[in-house]
Amino acid sequence: MIVVGVLSCVAALTALACLAVSANQKRQANTLIYGASAAICGVGLACALAALYSGAASTVILPLGLPWLGMHFRVDALAAAFLCVVNVGGVAASVFALGYGRHEAAPQRVLPFFPAFLAAMNLVVIADDAFTFLLSWELMSLMSWALVISHDRTAENMRAGLIYIVMASFGTLALLLAFGILAGPDGLYAFSSMRAHGLNSNYTMIVMLLTLIGAGSKAGIFPLHTWLPLAHPAAPSHASALMSGVMTKVAVYAFIRIVFDLLGPIDWRLAMIVIGVGAVTALMGVLYALMQHDLKRLLAYHTVENIGIIFVGLGLALAFRANGLAAAAALAATAALFHVFNHSLFKSLLFFGAGAVQTATGERDMDHLGGLIHTMPRTAIAFLVGAAAISALPPLNGFASEWLTFQAVFLSSTFPQWGLRLLAPAAGALLALSAALAAACFVKAFGISFLGRARSNAAQNAKETDKASLTAMLGLAAACGFAGIFPGLFTNLLAPATQFLTTSRMPVQAMAAPWTPLLPVAASHNSYSGFVIATCLVIATALTASVVRAFANNATRRSAAWDCGYPEASPTTQYTAGSFAQPIRRVFATIAFRAREQVTMPAPTDTGAAQFLLTLRDPAWDFLYTPIGRSVDFLADHFNRFQFLTIRRYLGLVFLTLVFLLTVLVLWA
């Protein structure tokens, strides 16, 4: 029974969390806790892979929770695919933390919550009734919240924690309402009974929108993403990696579980909403990211972008499925799921890199870094691979999944509806735009932090990070390469999950020879082979290098940089994060963020400094949160007088409410 295996892992992680509470003052606690969680997640991964290969669902009901309900757990193909993501992330983060966690100033604030967080994410994925699901979901939110505020000395982190907990509660409320409608008046909380009875189309729409809000706020869709760039960087880096790389994927899982599985058939108009939201999220995420100079915040905003790409894939899958185009739906779903997996790999890797940099230099601000490729060469290599993978460059894995997404967009001409036919190419254009901007953003992230000359003493004197952290980073980098070179292996592995979601699957990718190209749909002429591209690149590079070595002058001399003859200037004259993004800011952010530059020059004879002022407005705050906050304040002020009434008036209010509700009930019938 695979589900029992996963539950045992959850139990072991919970026990580990309890142990951590008591043992966190011991010197070996760090190694013990993280070593054990790596091992347990490894077992969880093995269970998940076994479930994916066997393809059979396994269920169990525990006599816990609500007395008439019990706790239902189930591992089917979809859950197994996400269990893989959770546990791969768990293993990597635990191994990284073996080294990274030793630098923690207050380990007792991190150690107990880390295994509990992993346990909660595993539980969400295997939950099979609404009660268990919401309980695990809240547990996941609370444990990650505890990790966010683990460094509670800075006001910034506390603010991040506050906003996170508010948004998380709001998201759970939306999910609670969605499950309430799904359960219906009879209170059928088990997922199996929700599946069995359908909903009418109005309720379907409400549930889908509520799920989009509830799961989407956790995943970080625009404009519900605002907590994410605050909370993810505030946590310690291995927890940031889990939150950004894995927890957002658990939210995507929640969306898929409810919308694809529990909700039954979806109208194509609703799919259009998902595609539109996804495309806008992708573009806005990357534009936000480009404006950042805090390395971890940049990465957090990039999670928003990638969630957008995933949602475009999911929306296309919904649209294809609504039209009975099963093969295309399978392609889109595979693209989304593969991107889920890929993003968990490279986003974890990049957060680890940022964490290693932060440990070595104490800096997250890119404008104080630079030249780290000399002092931290191995971290630089791992970060470079992650940056290239997230920028969707062949032959790495980010390209493979974006290629599949584009292939799904190209099939949009088969849609019978006009709206979808026009929307899909527009979404494709936005995806292409965000992919290109992502490349620019990661040239900036890697180039400003790791290349050039050191901009501070901290960066100058940085030391390479420890072996455990390096193992985790290089392992993930190798995984990014492997998944990019052999994407067929992964799409085959995801086939049971897409079969479950769309009643079809991508064509079986023959893996007899490694150079067999990836085929998106059976009848397609399009194909891509990461292996051949990688081999050609290696051969061509080797050939070029050997020809140059044989025939060219191989002498190399070190001398001052040419720089058009300008004298050697101080490292502060180098391009910074802000100046690198300036052209893109002028092209895109003038509209998106109302970016304004103001230069104040001193008078001609004045030797004072000139001033440069850049203002950016955040549309999500300006148009959504600030008005909401204001109206809450306003209402709170005006309802305040209800606090000081006499008992007679309170009873009168109760009576009036009762009359009102009874009237509503009578009219409703």
Partner: protein
Amino acid sequence: MGITGTLALQAVQAILAVALAPLLTGLVRKMKARLLCRLGASIFQPYRDIFRLLRKEVVLAPNASWLFSGVPYFVCAATWVAAMLVPTFTFDVRLAPAADLIAIVGLLASARFALALAGLDVGTSFGGIGASREMMIASVAEPAMLMLIFSLALVAGTTRLPDIAAFVQSPALGLHISLMLAFVGLVMIAVAENGRIPIDNPATHLELTMVHEAMVLEYSGRHLALIELASSMKLLLYVSLVSAVFLPWGIASDGASAAQYGVGTLLYLAKLFVAANLLGFFEVTVAKMRVFRVPQFIGAALMLGLLAALLRIVSESL
């Protein structure tokens, strides 16, 4: 034709890409010089330049890392692989199943990513200006390219380059407004991506508006030779791409006779010659635009791509 035959053809196309690329650059320069009433250097000058650079030693800045010295090899290799995937004189591209048009764009993006990083590596402001502008231009040009690919895929039903070209070559092809719009858009992108006037001036070295040349300013010797070769190959790639997709006449199909291959090669050379002349003519007739006008120029290409896709969608459903 057996597997050795197709592999040999692929090898010929790969060698052709390297061998002809500097010639194309030389032709463009010659044409520009003649139009400006100068004699101009020989069309073989780019070859001489590359060999001269190969004979010179490399001067590295003190803090140049391994990335700086490694990037030219990678850029040259990635551009070369991309260039050999574009049909030149035959559709029989052995590697075509491994990489469709999106993958070719991806390979070029990889090369650009690496080069932009190299621009930042030495830590001079010229490298930074080049890298940041190059990425800004790419961020508009790449979606435009993707939209053009999308409209081509809508017309031809595939993103694999030889199949698109074969579709255009087939006599069944009617009049497609979409294809014409895509043609104009692709030419605009080709001009932008290769840093030609009016986007960038490949002949300047000390001008604040320069993009590509600023990025590679610190390169010297064999590294610079490889980068020059790579940018010539990129120009050749785009010329081959435009001619393969929109003017595929004469390109030999699978299993053609030796004579057909000969005709294909001759026609390909003729197309290169015409393209070089047109590009040279275009470059001397327009002025370079301000760098912040560039997004508008490429934005027009993006709109052409969207319009082409839209028209195709509309015409399909009528």
